[in-house]
Amino acid sequence: MTGRMFIVDDERTVVETLREILVMNGFDVLGWAYSGEEAVRKYASFVPPPDIVIMDYRLPAKNGVEVMAEILKLDPSARVLFVSADMNARSIALAGGAVGFILKPFGMREFLATVQTLVRKDGS
């Protein structure tokens, strides 16, 4: 199973971990960003766009939902998977157009299973 991924998280270790998990399991990580502005700028530069954007909720300056809104404005077909330690962010993210939500702290198996389910849905 393959898919193009884009990771947005302000924590470098988390980005590194997610990138490693995805690459080890055959996914193509197009890039990563540590802030909302960087994420929007990089997303606009991807041709073709990533299949899934993995987005943290708490980001510097703008939160993940605001960044997702900007990305969806650029590309209404963008699919954003939210990761957050805040359960309250789930309903906000899903209402804003996210396709999935994972509660932090999560492990490799949970993360991978969720991503694979989304990619499978995308392909079907």
Partner: protein
């Protein structure tokens, strides 16, 4: 009693002087001077004033009246007034005039003393108390504002703490799972990594629960934020399924469709339901997870209507320590050695905060099966409104 005695005495004197005047000896002689009886009468008055000064000087040592200086002055001036009355020779005499002046001054001072003691001072105290009350009110408002700011700061710290700890735990759990998925570890290393994984997951769950409880307790139960329990149960079940895609989860549901199951707690109770279902799923390491979810309206022990959610798990048994912990509301003041609370303890704390109840139990064994159940009771919207109006029955 003293006042009554004084009134009776005055009336008696008034009666004798007005109606029995003939029976009294004459005070003035024909040439306008005091008779010996009149002088004796005046000397008696002087003596009584002197006695009054003496008694008062002793009395004021016992009761430190604020108007004592006025009363003492009135008595002294009255004493000299009566003395002048006993010394004058003619009614037109200057000494007689002085006597009247002294008497007038004495009564004026006495009037001022009474005014001060009974009117000015009580009202002064009242005004002072009022000013202090206003000042205290301002101070109280300031303290409340400071406490609210401190609470929000603590909340923000906890948010950052929970966020950062989650970011720390994520890689630990992921790399531990990665190591366990490989074949490079010796059995002992595998055991150690397994312990790291388990403890990191416990830490993560504890922080998440702590944050959830702090969020819930920041909300006043009176500030009714309702959720539709039926809808939320379905959503939470879907969310648990999506986060545990490798698990086989089968559920049967009995949810009311014709009534909106509105209960207090908002997303905080949603978090509790998520935690309970997640625990149910993660408590079964291998094999299918079978759950039955029911929602119905019942009457609580006070006869008030409430929503009851029952999550029954088949082929599952709670260990005794979990059953014990689930009965105790989480308290951050628990001492060292108490251990960290189980998820159920946090869930109970949140549900209790919103006026509900939560309990877990192992159902009676039937043949070879053992089932467990988590029950949550939450007030219905109308019960909650009654409670907020103060109707506790």
């Amino acid at each position: 009693m003293i006042i009554l005695g004084a009134v009776v005495f005055t009336l008696l004197v008034f009666y004798v002087v007005v109606f029995q005047a003939d029976s009294l000896p004459s005070i003035y002689s024909e040439n306008g001077r005091l008779t010996s009886y009149g002088r004796g009468f005046e000397y008696t008055s002087v003596f009584l004033f002197g006695l009054g000064i003496l008694v008062y000087s002793c009395f004021r040592r016992v009761r430190r009246q604020s108007a004592h200086s006025y009363i003492a002055a009135a008595l002294v001036v009255g004493f000299f007034g009566e003395l002048c009355f006993s010394l004058y020779s003619l009614a037109s005499n200057l000494v007689n005039l002085m006597a009247y002046c002294f008497e007038f001054t004495s009564f004026l001072i006495l009037f001022l003393a009474l005014l001060k003691e009974s009117v000015t001072m009580p009202f002064g105290w009242l005004a002072l108390t009022w000013r202090m009350h206003e000042k205290d009110q301002g101070r109280l408002e300031l303290k409340t504002k400071e406490a609210e700011e401190a609470r929000l700061r603590a909340q923000a710290h906890l948010d950052f703490f929970a966020h950062d700890v989650s970011n720390i735990i994520c890689p630990i759990v992921s790399y531990a799972e990665m190591l366990l998925a490989g074949n490079d570890l010796t059995p002992q290393q595998r055991k150690h990594v397994g312990t790291i994984l388990k403890q990191a997951q416990r830490g993560g769950a504890f922080v998440a629960n702590l944050r959830r409880l702090a969020d819930a307790e920041a909300v006043s139960p009176d500030a009714f934020v309702g959720i539709d329990l039926g809808r939320v149960l379905l959503e939470v079940e879907g969310f648990v399924r999506s986060t545990h895609p490798t698990k086989i989860i089968s559920t049967t549901q009995a949810l009311p469709v014709d009534t909106q199951a509105i209960a207090p707690g908002g997303e905080h109770v949603e978090g509790v339901l998520y935690e309970i279902m997640k625990n149910a799923v993660e408590d079964v390491p291998e094999g299918p997870v079978r759950l039955s979810i029911t929602l119905r309206q019942v009457r609580n022990e006070h006869g008030k209507r409430c929503w009851q959610v029952c999550i029954t798990q088949f082929d599952h048994e709670f260990p005794p320590e979990t059953l014990a912990e689930a009965r105790v509301i989480y308290d951050p003041r628990w001492g060292i050695g108490r251990g960290i609370a189980s998820s159920y303890s946090f869930c109970l704390s949140i549900v209790s905060h919103f006026g509900g109840r939560l309990w877990i139990e192992n159902l009676p064994k039937t043949d070879k099966t053992q089932n467990s159940r988590v029950t949550i009771e939450l007030p219905t919207a109308d019960t909650m409104m009654d409670l907020s109006r103060g109707d506790q029955t």
